[in-house]
């Protein structure tokens, strides 16, 4: 288990990030007041159901939000710089050198009319200037080797590659400039289970070798548990809980985390599918109080009145839920047990 002492240096800090999508019927609050810290060398997983804002949050960090979406407020600090305050040209120079992306749809993330090698060359030479041809080629071939790609794809076109190969090309591209932070946005979701495993292992291997910090986005709690150090559970644009994998599975603090963990199928017992009661609120018009109240089995009066602050119920485990109340001794306890 990773210790969570404050001495650890932050690689990326996100504070109060708000991203809204404009619609004729009002703003959709896709990401609403999201704050977290990514420490150096760690892998932070973001999980949550479709539409919970995890991908939008990652696009917000990368500054790739396009209309009708817009960043309303917040700070994204990387290397002490707030990315939101940089000019377009400054931002462009920082991109990929410090913050790279392993995209969601690797199938369509490569330019179909450019050879694989050319798509590496352009990013390397844009950021590092012209280089001798032979040196550049060797560097690209080394990258291929790191992710287990054969050298023969060097001058191939994307359509000549399989899905798993394209995904690995994207991983190799993501590490080409040795970035500080890599965001892997559902990098394995589009692949079948076998390839998924191979790609996931490749990613872990690469991550370990480079010591890079990583944000991994997904909706598969089981897969996440094997790959990340800490998990952030997102619901409707909010972080419901953020904790180490161990803490999360031992004692999930938020009712929604519990639901997600229960939904991981077990190999040993056969269970009926757990269905979460209730429906998600209209994202244009979030309810007063806690965002999860409409579906929460433990909703109380206070949940309908005021939104829960995020509280650290034990070192490293932060939960945004009224179920956890501070006790006279300064510790937090679950009100269901104390009552």
């Amino acid at each position: 288990m990773l210790d969570n002492s404050p001495q650890r240096t932050a690689a990326l800090e996100v504070k109060g990030l708000k991203i809204y999508y404009e619609t004729p019927a009002g703003d959709v609050r896709a990401v609403d007041d999201v704050s977290f810290t990514l420490y150096e060398g760690e892998t932070l997983g973001f999980v949550g159901e479709s539409g919970c804002g995890k991908s939008t949050a990652s696009m917000g960090i990368l500054q790739l939000i396009t209309p009708p979406g817009r960043i309303v407020a917040g700070e994204v600090r990387l290397d002490g710089q707030n990315l939101l305050e940089l000019s377009e040209e400054e931002l462009r120079r920082q991109r990929w050198e410090k913050l790279s992306l392993i995209p969601q749809g690797a199938m369509n993330s490569l330019n179909p009319t450019m050879r694989i090698s050319a798509q590496f060359r352009d990013v390397i030479q844009t950021h590092e200037g012209k280089q001798p041809k032979a040196k550049l080629k060797q560097r690209i071939l080394d990258l291929f080797q790191t992710v287990g790609l054969p050298a023969r794809i060097y001058s191939m076109y994307p359509h000549e590659l399989s899905g798993g190969m394209k995904q690995r090309v994207c991983i190799a591209m993501g590490i080409a400039l040795n970035p500080k932070v890599i965001i892997a946005d559902e990098a394995t979701s589009a692949l079948d289970v076998v390839v998924q495993r191979v790609v996931a292992q490749t990613m872990l291997k690469v991550k370990k070798a480079l010591g890079v910090s990583m944000i991994m986005i997904g909706h598969d709690m089981g897969l996440m548990a094997q790959m990340v150090d800490r998990i952030a559970v997102m619901y409707a644009g909010h972080i419901a809980e953020i904790a180490t994998v161990e803490q999360m599975f031992r004692r999930p603090g938020h009712p929604y985390s519990q639901v997600l963990i229960d939904s991981v199928p077990s190999l040993t017992e056969r269970q009926a599918l757990r269905v979460v009661e209730g429906i998600t609120h209209d994202p244009r018009n979030p309810p007063k109080g806690c965002i999860f109240q409409l579906r929460c089995p433990h909703a109380m009066d206070v949940c309908r009145r005021e939104p829960p602050e995020r509280r650290e119920i034990e070192p490293g485990q932060e939960v945004a839920c009224h179920l956890w109340q501070r006790q006279p001794d300064g510790r937090y306890a679950d009100v269901r047990q104390s009552a």
Partner: protein, 337 residues
Amino acid sequence: MGRIPAGYLFRRLGIFVLTIWLAATVIWIIPRLAPGDPISAMVGRMAASAGFIENADAIIEGWQERFGLNEPLFNQYLRYLWGCLRFDFGYSLASFPTQVSTLIGFALPWTIGLLLLAVTITFIFGNFVGAIMVWSHTPRIIKALIPFGLVFTSIPTILAALLLLYVFAFLLNAFPMRGAYALGVEPGLSWDFIWTVIYHGTLPALAIILVSFGYWALGMRGMMITVEGEDYIQLAKAKGLKPFHILYRYMVRNAILPQITAFALALGTLVSGQILVEYIFGYPGMGKLIYDAIITQDFAVIQGTSYIVILLTAIAVLIVDLAYPFIDPRISLKGGR
């Protein structure tokens, strides 16, 4: 990509020859479906205007023998096909005894010169406009002005041509009213001649460009918007590539592919498509030749020009077909059809 397999090349050339043969046959059959024969009709017309012609029957017979019209149809057909191969379409009826091939020989260079240039400029300019309409780094003022340029798209070519003539040739006297070159200049490879050709060609070219660049621009705009939403554009932005590099290497490069196919088809209609423009500007090209031939019912010329138009169309399509794998690496000619 890269090489054209021999099997495909032969099959494609076979289709090319077949197309030409079928087209030539149709051109040959259609006039023969009409009742009567052209020589009796011509002599009849002459008799009607002159009142009486001596030995009319002998004249008809003599001419029929001369043109081979008394031979069996199949022989006539073979003779016609042989003529097509050598670009020999016989004599023009309206300007006898000039050969049809001579008339085409005079007209074709003008048309290819003017229209190839105008259509190519239109293609490049239209696609450029379409691309910058979508590019997010285009200055706003330019984006705001483009729709005004597209107004011409809704004006028929003939009206645009008249408008240009009125404003630039009549009112401002900046350009000549008609013709392809000044009368005093000796045709040849001299600067004087080149200058007068450009001077005379500007207005007709402008008429074509103004009216048709909008089609390319709007088509390109649609393709650019589609490409802009692709995942690889987002990744290119995340990679921190320079905006202009993304524009031409990632967006335009992919968006222009369907436009190139359309360009091949446009080249095909090029020779016959601008008859009105050539007519209005008195430009001595194929369009004018076709127009005059229709007015004077010069069937030999119609037949010859139609054949040339079809031949050029087929050649343009053939070139694009063979060139496509070099343009789009996803297209492979191996084993495909």
